[in-house]
Symmetry: C2
Subunit: 254 residues, 2 copies
Amino acid sequence: MRADHTSMPLPEDAPGGLPFFAAGISLVIHPRNPHAPTAHANYRYFEITDPAASDSPTNVLAWWFGGGADLTPSYLYPADATHFHQTYKTACDAFSADLYPSLKTWCDEYFYISHRKETRGVGGIFFDDLHQGQHQRLTENRPREQADVFAFVQSLGAAFVPAYVPILSQRANMVYTPLQRRWQLIRRGRYVEFNLVHDRGTKFGLMTPGARVESILMSLPEIARWEYMSDMGEDALSEEGKLMEVLRNPRQWV
Amino acid sequence: MRADHTSMPLPEDAPGGLPFFAAGISLVIHPRNPHAPTAHANYRYFEITDPAASDSPTNVLAWWFGGGADLTPSYLYPADATHFHQTYKTACDAFSADLYPSLKTWCDEYFYISHRKETRGVGGIFFDDLHQGQHQRLTENRPREQADVFAFVQSLGAAFVPAYVPILSQRANMVYTPLQRRWQLIRRGRYVEFNLVHDRGTKFGLMTPGARVESILMSLPEIARWEYMSDMGEDALSEEGKLMEVLRNPRQWV
């Protein structure tokens, strides 16, 4: 983390820690209908301040934004994945053509369930440590000033409704079978596995004394299912298998 | 871990690791009926050998047994908890009166969902690093020789059926309501949280390249449920609240 924020003092220079400010917003929707994908968005801001200059307006030692949005279908509708990605690509491209390709790849890497060798869903965008300095994964052709980065993050926030609601409207009332519901619940088991085993925010949150557990775990689905050695999804020609193929081999959607 | 097995070489003395043998058996039963408790038992054996003496029968550098059994009800029947604990106490007492009290406390400590401030269930017994040398948690009044420790572990294995099956027989056909099923599924969500966030065996297993994920995650329930800010269990006088009381304040059952 500090590698990304070299203006921060080293731990030995601030043994008692440093004052900080953190703000974030998270959104997770798990629709009942198996044809309607789960959607997630999260945007966050961190700021570390100098305790020796607490009344100065220039006392910020380091600041950064993080966040992203991703789509997790149980049944693959390629047009939905393309629409979701295209909406975020358009929002990114207004700031820099370099952003979407990097943030798309980062999303596929982050939401990877390593013990299953599959991604959580069809991805979207993900980023962290967005600040004015050099960035380990991003080119310099991006918003750098704090106001510009905030405008970029606001723009991504505003993209969620046009990215997701048209998909939800189209899928939420489709007819579905008990078998499709069963598959959806198995996929939600994988969502639980990712969030509890791999997600950094969840893991850090649960280890924090006094953390508000209900807020941290609001990302979990209402119901999840596990089947020992389930054969659902193993037939590559089935609708379930078509989803698995793109989770095992992330695709360029736009 | 090495603190418990001082005969093992230090990592710097064996940079390539050491040959090992591991064997274990795990059993988890999640009954459908909310009045019938979940039961879990696991016994395991590890052995580390000296690569320089691979054809010697005395090439074992360190060996130890671990294991235990615990009960996780959704509805509290104190007589069930007492029967389960009494069965394991009797099995332990045949080897040493010092064992059950230590293994009971260890179980309550191990199966603790720290982020919820509650135990997973009403406990049972738990132990690790049982070998011939000094033990950090156990007195010397216990089986020490390898054959004696194995006999003790076999005796605990044999105690599972008399500890659990009478409870299952009595509860498996009780009438239950949709609300009781809902509560059972919420409790199973907590079981998932413990296993994926806290359980050492699960965490190590999932991080091991090439691990058999289906075996590791067979402990998860068929269905689990999460409710944001659920009020179930909050009324201390309700049947759900009576369970919560003993999960928050582990009890001596025998």
